[in-house]
């Protein structure tokens, strides 16, 4: 006899995420047994999914249960501390990584003024204090977010990065269409879409430095395409599928980091727009694009963590 309802499975998944890995499997097995005992006690006539939902009600929320299982919860709930640490780690690590890449790439301007830019390279204590400043800034940002969300009673709005779930066949088909569209935009339509037009003249404005990354994009799209094909082929939960998914995620993060650290992203033609307009517009577009790249890279980094956890689970099973 195993659990039937998606709610019960989601409950155990959430509980597993909240517990220390060394204890998670054992506790989850015991809680699953408790649920099944309660379901069994209702007799064979009761619809299983309904009975499981009622059994879950007797356990309380997974967050509260995990909190109660912690030996000595202090002022901040154990699950909140865990969520805080995870989000802070992801944010600070991403922030430091981007700053180092911007420094190595000799970026001359901040990607996000006051928040994200190259680190000073001399003197050495300037580099150290800038890195420390990043850590403190990120801790402050996460703390303020948690405080606000906690005050609004919406602490669940920052869910823990748990395991990624697999795609359904419909999602894989939608991805196939999306990948085809992106490939079309990156290749035959690129110079039509990303161009400044005046009269009959059309001047592409993406910088050669950025266009040099197109082969990388092709590799990432290829991996996403392969994953979608594997899911459509009925291998949604195969280790190969999750491995390809993880590789695509890592490739995507690297691609976005590389894109965000290019010396030049757009090159607007001064002959068409005028020197001043081309300069100002180029600067604005660069900032917006950098912001998008950085946000996308951070979100994708969280997704990569989830995919890694999922792959680990599949391999251990």
């Amino acid at each position: 006899m195993t659990l039937k309802s998606p709610q019960a499975r989601a409950y155990l998944e959430r509980l597993r995420d909240l517990l220390p890995p060394s204890e998670a499997s054992r506790v989850v097995a015991e809680v699953e047994s408790l649920i099944l005992d309660r379901v069994e006690a209702e007799g064979p006539g009761a619809p299983l999914e309904e009975a499981e939902r009622r059994a879950l009600a007797h356990l309380g929320s997974p967050d509260t249960l995990a909190d109660t299982l912690a030996e000595a919860p202090l002022q901040v709930g154990w699950s909140s501390r865990r969520a805080f640490t995870r989000w802070f780690s992801v944010l600070a690590a991403g922030h430091l990584l981007f700053s180092i890449l911007l420094t190595v790439g000799k970026a001359e301007v901040d990607a996000l003024p006051g928040l994200l830019g190259p680190l000073p390279t001399a003197p050495w204590w300037g580099t150290v204090s800038a890195a420390l400043g990043i850590v403190l800034l990120d801790a402050g940002i996460v703390f303020v977010l948690f405080t606000l969300l906690g005050a609004w009673g919406r602490s669940g709005a920052l869910p823990l990065p748990g395991r990624a779930r697999g795609w359904t066949r419909a999602e894989a088909l939608r991805t196939l269409v999306l990948v085809s569209l992106l490939a079309l935009i990156a290749h035959p339509l690129r110079d039509e879409i990303f161009a400044v037009r005046r009269g009959a003249t059309s001047t592409p404005f993406l910088a050669p430095d950025l266009l040099a990354l197109i082969p990388w994009l092709d590799v990432v799209l290829g991996l996403v395409l392969l994953r979608a094909l594997l899911v459509v082929g009925g291998k949604a939960d195969a280790p190969l599928t999750h491995g390809v998914d993880l590789l695509a995620g890592i490739g995507g993060v690297l691609l976005l980091v590389l894109a965000a650290t290019r010396h030049e992203i757009v090159r607007l033609p001064p002959a068409v727009l005028g020197q001043e307009v081309a300069g100002v517009l180029g600067n604005v577009i660069t900032r917006v694009v950098l912001l998008v790249f950085v946000a996308a890279a951070l979100l994708l980094a969280v997704a990569v963590i989830k995919r890694g956890l999922r792959l680990r689970q599949v391999l251990s099973a």
Binding site: M1, A29, E30, S33, L34, D37, R38, A41, L65
Partner: protein
């Protein structure tokens, strides 16, 4: 005149829940079985409350546990360990002291 707040009695019962559970664990019992027996004894308790208690008692060595894999599915059984028997005796003594002190105080109250 309003009656007794039910939460007060629930709190009193929660205070002795651990002792009552230990009294029921001379024989091996699984979690839901214990929930049912506690309810019959007048101690309604949810699995979400009892399970962390059982786990804590197990980690402290008060309870021993084993998985029975002979049935349709594995089931975890808890029973009192030798150390648990000693702890239960101490807890029972403590409970009797509290009960006697409370009774003594109540005898002073005019009915």
């Amino acid at each position: 005149m309003p009656g007794l707040d039910p939460h007060v009695e629930a709190e009193l019962r929660r205070g002795v829940l651990q002792l009552v559970a230990l009294c029921l664990l001379d024989a091996p019992r699984y979690g839901y079985d214990l929930v049912r027996l506690l309810a019959q004894a007048g101690f309604e308790v949810e699995e979400g409350t009892l399970y962390p208690i059982l786990r804590r008692l197990e980690l402290r060595g008060t309870l021993a546990s084993s998985w029975d894999t002979g049935g349709a599915r594995p089931r975890k059984y808890y029973r009192l360990s030798p150390e648990g028997r000693r702890q239960r005796a101490e807890l029972a003594l403590a409970w009797r002291r509290v009960r006697d002190a409370t009774d003594a105080a109540l005898t002073e109250v005019p009915s």
